[in-house]
Amino acid sequence: MTLQIRAIAIYSHDGERRDVRFNLGALNIVTGASKTGKSALLDIVDYCWGRSECTIAEGEIRRGVSWFAVIFDNDGEGILVARRNPGPAGKASDEIYFERNVEDFPETTVPLVKNSTADGLRQRLSAILGVAENVHIPEPGATRRPLDASASQAIFFCLQNQDEIASRRLLFHRQGEERIPQAIKDTLPYFVGAMGEDHFLKQKRYEDARRRLRALERSYADALALTDEASGTARNLLKEAKRVGLLDLDASADSLEGLRALLGHAARPRSLEYAKTDDPAADLTDLEERRRRIRIELQELRDDIKDLQRLTREASEFETEAREQQARLASIELVAHDATGHETCPLCDSHLAIAVPAVDEIRKSLGRLDRQLSTVRRDNPRLQGQIAELEMKRTSREVDLQIVQGDISARIADNERLRIEQDQFTEQARVAGRVGYYLENARTLSDGEGLRLQVARVRAEVGELEAALDQEAMEERLTTALGLVGRDITDYAGRLELEHGENSLRLDRKNLTVVADTINGPLFLYQIGSGENWVGYHVAAHLALHKLFRTLNRPVPAFVMLDQPSQAHYPKEKDVGEISGAEDEDQLAVARLYRLLLDYCVSMAPSMQIIVADHVDLLQEWFRESTVERWRDGIKLVPMTWLR
């Protein structure tokens, strides 16, 4: 498979066409003065390859052209890609016309209608190139998404515009843009063939197998852990079953099987029977009500007794007082006879203002007191009797209260016992449930053997796929491939007589640059001076890479487009035009470069095409033969007539 460029064409707004045709498998030189549109050729190819941005310089071309078109040659098959000019200031157009098996450009723009998008175009080109399904999985932890190599990356190896070819830091096309260097690094292993064509499939299978293995291993580990725990758990359950009375206290087993049998016994269904009493709480309420009534009664009795006792006390107080009076009045009994004339003074016979009481009078008083005291004595026994009666009643009530109190205590104890009993039944049910659950799980554990075999099988599968994928092997293949490229770079650098060209050179995949391995250590391209060297190493690196691509028939277009490789010697503004190529060092160097390109194409023929746009014009036969266009004296890419 070689994909080369058969021709580039532009259409005017009126539908006129201007072609630039190239030879396949050969060096094609487009020489001409400045501002004739040489650089646009590269940009047109880039644009028609599906680039999301039109980089064709503003000016005559953007103003005067309606469509850009390229016919690629895919082993003799013409592939037409036409894309509308986005116009001045336009970024890109999605109007793309794609057609396979064409002989030549259509005469006018009439047939050019949109039949593809940029994405679609890239996919078709990838398919034509033969880019197999592939994917670069970034190392774990990287934030970029997996990238599959496609035509979009393949083109990076084929183009070198005038800024890039002389850059000391950028080796590849668009390397200076964001994310592009990583894309080149990630896809390089695929393009140099270090990654097998079925790598993608293997990778997918490997990931799938790994995922399955992880799941299985997890299940297996769980199963193992459960088995390990099983005996301990079973022992604990046995202990609990004994505690709650599901098993006899002396039940024990030596083996796990025996243990399970015991547990099965413990978990068997059973009827739970316990005393079905009438509502114990209601009973208790009755008793408490009775107690309350008795207490009220007792209180009333005590109050009554207290009242009576108060009465008794009062009576006795009266009695004491009366007795005192009686005792004092009783002195009258000591008087021997009744005396008279108590109203007169016995000493002076005068009338007393206050008569001395007569003996009779005092005797009467004594008699009255005697009667009162006898009444008190009569009352008192009655009170005592009443108190005695009440106290008896109180005693019997107190006995009643004690009985009720006892009943209540007994009832509470009863209830407590019932509650404990119920708790125990609940506990038994709970433990029985746990044992049942354990036994159920323990049964499934016996299937662990099948799981183990499955794990082993998938592990073997993963190992096999891993070996097939072997990242290390891939790295080694990549190193080997890049070693081959380095050898060729060294070869071409020597032929170009570049500085440090005598050292061993290699392509640094990590930094995407060329490194000269000197005795003083690696020397990177940007550390090497002189624009001549930069251009030379760019050319050498690309030629070497493409040699590898072609040798391995990798899906990379079989052409290289270089823009102004002579700029190191002849800057753009110093248009020398024709030179002999042998008059000074610069001329010799330029001649050496072109000669290398020519020889390269010849040695690779017909599988490599090189298209160079430059303003030097070597006056040598082989150069003339390779020149396909010479744009001087008013001849340029866009005809003057289009810009009326």
Partner: protein, 171 residues
């Protein structure tokens, strides 16, 4: 003095309690016992002023308890020991004066005592002090003993004026 007015009423119109507690028969009996014991101890009639000290010292429980158990107790030292009780004795003596007077009159009327220039003596119809009344209480018995002892104690004293002075009493 409000208490004094009660003894201005006739005995039967007085409150029963007072009439009974301070009835002239009882108070007279106590006086008679003091007179009798005085005469036995001193061999002469008792000075009248002593009669007015009997009721206040014997009827009042605190005063009665303060009295010495024996008749030969030194009067001066006893008075010094019982200054607290004696501080209220004058007032009590003053209030009970109508009671004592009534009792004396009663005794004279029934002939149980006679009053001469020398003092108080036993009359023609003395009270039957050895007899036992139909009713008695411990307190009344105590008072009887106390009044007898008082008679003996007074009988041991030489000068009634000194006794009255020690007691802080003016009749």
């Amino acid at each position: 003095m409000p208490g004094q007015t009660r003894y201005e009423a006739l005995w039967r119109d007085r409150p029963q309690e007072e009439a009974a507690h301070f009835n002239p028969a009882f108070c007279g009996e106590l006086l008679a016992r003091t007179i009798k014991e005085f005469r036995k101890q001193a061999g002469r009639t008792m000075p009248l002023v002593y009669a007015f000290l009997v009721a206040p010292l014997v009827l009042h429980p605190n005063a009665r308890r303060a009295l010495p158990g024996r008749a030969n107790t030194a009067f001066a030292s006893w008075a010094g020991d019982n200054a607290d009780m004696l501080s209220t004795l004058a007032d009590r003596t003053l209030r009970l004066r109508p009671v004592t007077r009534e009792a004396l009159l009663f005794l004279v009327q029934i002939g149980a005592a006679e009053i001469s220039e020398d003092g108080l003596g036993i009359g023609n119809h003395p009270l039957k002090l050895s007899g036992k009344p139909s009713a008695s209480t411990d307190e009344v018995d105590e008072m009887r003993r106390a009044s007898g002892m008082l008679g003996r104690w007074f009988g041991n004293q030489a000068d009634p004026a000194a006794v009255l002075q020690a007691m802080g009493v003016r009749v």
